[in-house]
């Protein structure tokens, strides 16, 4: 885990003082709301439906126990006893007071956390693979590169007033567990034929109202030019990204309008220029950062066999664990998707428990998944039963990772001032429906994602089944989409046809699931069957 040194700490502390001052100037009337808004947003403070909302950065989704405890304490002390883990691996608090914001940031700074650039038209928190450093299939741990990018992008003087927000993701395996190609910049750490590590750059992906899959613009950037290349990508965007229309201001529109080849040409030209400007950090810095991500002290030859005699435990193991690079270990997923629950919400009590379990069973480490679950990355298989028992006792043992119950849902109209329809009640009803009919297991992997508006925080474009809430003459209405994926086979979902009412959409999802169950061939997931048979049989079942 990365640890702050005196410099990191000084920067975060200075930001706390700066934001305290900005809040005070707003309270004193020296700043108008129009002037204050971009400042508070760059510290993750929104004004939402019911109160201020604070989004705290979880860099590349990695937390240690003390940090998770601190997040729980903030939920208790300043909020209403819970937090919401987001699709950007962050955490949000829904009931924040402006007058407390400075104190909260100060509490965060004590555990090396912050809310810097978690909103605003700047480079946002860097996301990564939630199994980074543990997955058996990665070429390297992607987090040192994410950390280097975090430092580079923090308080970046040139790129803090971009045309629009900017999201970067770094992964290091061919399996994409982080929706890499749906980011403004997606970076895949790769190994070339000579055995050297480098970075493949995918630029111009995104969801929102105009979803796009990022094209590859450079297949190998040497690691000692990584920051310079990113700087070139950003400079071209800052200069030429559209500023005349908020809805066309993301880099995906620039790349699309220029064409990937012309955007690439401009980036390469800028890159060639910047190579002489001394933008790149010394390579020693990357080496220093890497030392923080070295493996914990894994036990040698841990017992590799799991006692599967308890069927409930065996089911959870099958569903909620992921292969680890070290023999005898596994990565365990704590589902924040209990049937009928609010996706991604965790109480302070649950956060404390997860932190304690990470300390006992996962070398003090936790991860936030973009699917709004929590990972304990390094669990000895011999500890798995004890871990599961503790989770079960706390209601955190749902064995439903990547099933139809493991729904991504944005906060929707229950919390969000941008939303057109509620997302959470739909997620609750769908998980209840499938739990009640017992079809969850038969359906297997089925990624269902719900957004309450076109901004697509709930990733509906990338769901095997996606749901988009819209406002139809003041009434909530839900459109159904099929065939999306945010994995390495990234695809954008297509809308089935006319929308449905709140209850109607639950029925529609079940009908679509039934089409799959009757049409699937051996080993096919929902997505595979959809790709084979196309939209028509689904439309027939839904509207015929």
């Amino acid at each position: 885990m990365y640890l702050y040194d005196q410099y990191d700490q000084a920067m975060v502390d200075a930001r706390v003082a700066e934001f305290r001052d900005q809040c005070q100037r707003r309270i004193d009337g020296k700043l108008t709301e129009d002037q204050f808004k971009p400042l508070r947003l760059m510290n993750g403070l929104y004004l939402q439906l019911h109160a201020y909302m604070l989004r705290v950065a979880v860099p590349y989704g990695t937390l240690k126990s003390t940090q998770m405890h601190a997040l729980a304490d903030i939920a208790d002390k300043y909020d209403r006893g819970y937090g919401h883990f987001t699709t950007r691996q962050n955490i949000q608090y829904n009931w924040i007071k402006l007058e407390d914001a400075g104190d909260i940031l100060a509490d965060l700074a004590k555990v090396e956390m912050h809310a810097i650039q978690t909103s605003g038209n700047c480079i946002r928190n860097i996301s990564s693979d939630h199994f980074a450093g543990a997955a058996a299939d990665e070429v390297a741990d992607p987090r040192p590169y994410a950390e280097l990018l975090r430092q580079w992008s923090s308080f970046h003087p040139e790129f803090s007033y971009l045309p629009r927000k900017f999201k970067i993701c770094v992964i290091a395996s061919d399996r994409d567990r982080a929706a890499m190609k749906l980011h403004d910049i997606g970076i895949q750490i790769v190994r070339n034929d000579a055995g050297e590590l480098g970075a493949a750059f995918y630029v111009g992906g995104g969801m929102g109202r105009t979803p796009m899959i990022a094209p590859l613009i450079r297949d190998f950037v040497p690691l000692d030019q990584l920051i310079t290349y990113a700087e070139a990508c950003l400079r071209v965007y800052n200069r030429y990204g559209r500023r005349d229309n908020k809805y066309k201001a993301r880099i995906k529109i620039l790349v699309h309008e220029l064409g990937a080849a012309e955007y690439t040409r401009q980036v390469e030209e800028e890159f060639a220029h910047l190579l002489d400007q001394g933008v790149e950090p010394p390579f020693a810095e990357l080496k220093r950062i890497r030392t923080f991500f070295e493996d914990p002290a894994f036990a040698q030859s841990s017992a590799a066999e799991i006692d599967r005699s308890d069927p409930d435990f065996a089911l959870w193991v099958d569903r909620n664990t992921h292969p680890h690079k070290v023999e005898g270990y596994t990565s365990a997923v704590i589902s924040l998707k209990p049937v009928g629950g609010i996706p991604g919400d965790a109480s302070a009590e649950q956060m404390h428990l997860m932190a304690d379990l990470a300390k006992d069973y996962s070398f003090d480490e936790l991860r936030v998944m973009h699917t709004q679950n929590i990972v304990l990355p390094h669990v000895a298989k011999s500890d798995l039963h004890a871990l599961w028992t503790a989770l079960e006792d706390a209601g955190l043992g749902s064995p439903n990772l990547d099933t139809v119950e493991d729904i991504i849902a944005c906060p929707g109209l229950d919390y969000c001032s941008l939303a057109n329809a509620r997302s959470i009640p739909v997620a609750q009803k769908i998980s209840e429906r499938f739990a009640a009919t017992g079809k969850t297991a038969a359906l297997g992997e089925l990624k269902l994602k719900i957004s309450g508006c076109i901004n697509a925080c709930g990733h509906h474009h990338a769901g095997h089944i996606g749901i988009l809430g819209v406002d139809r003459k003041g009434v909530e209405n839900y459109q159904l989409l099929l065939g999306g994926s945010e994995a390495e086979d990234t695809a954008l979902a297509k809308i089935t046809g006319p929308g449905f009412s709140e209850d109607g959409i639950v029925d529609a999802v079940e009908k679509a699931a039934d089409v799959y169950l009757s049409a699937r061939e051996d080993g096919e997931r929902f997505l595979d069957t959809y790709r084979r048979i196309g939209m028509a049989p689904f439309k027939e079942a839904l509207y015929g």
Partner: protein, 167 residues
Amino acid sequence: MAEGLSSTQTPAEGRGPLDATSLRFRDDDPVLDPAVTVDAFTAQGNAVAVRIEPGDDVRELLPSLDRLALVEINFPTFGDGRGYSAARILREAGYRGELRAVGDVLVDQIAYLRRCGFDAFAPEAPLDPDDVAAALDRFPHVYQPAADERNPIWNLRHGKGEELRDE
């Protein structure tokens, strides 16, 4: 920081190119020539001051840097960040003349603007010099290199560029 904050006052009446609200971080005399558009500058052979609008390509000035004494970069709204890139491009190309931010320039942006190479400010709304000083002093370090002389944390950690340290 070694450099001092000086508020330049000129006797010009009304809103001239510089007035009591202006801030300058240069020792030379302010350029009082009117700034012309990029088109006018490249067409005429004698202008020494040019005004950059957000949509202008600042690289058009690069062949004529040696006759430029003042570049004004306009921020019609504070959220339009193109001027930050324009400023850095000029400094990267070796421009040493005055680089003045004009328009909707707010105190909370001053530190980033300084880092991108601006050394003069003539905002529409006056800035409190104390607020400006506080904003410039706020962050003890910087992570990344830019157009200023500050030595990034990356270098400090590895004992590089000590000669550049300004404190």
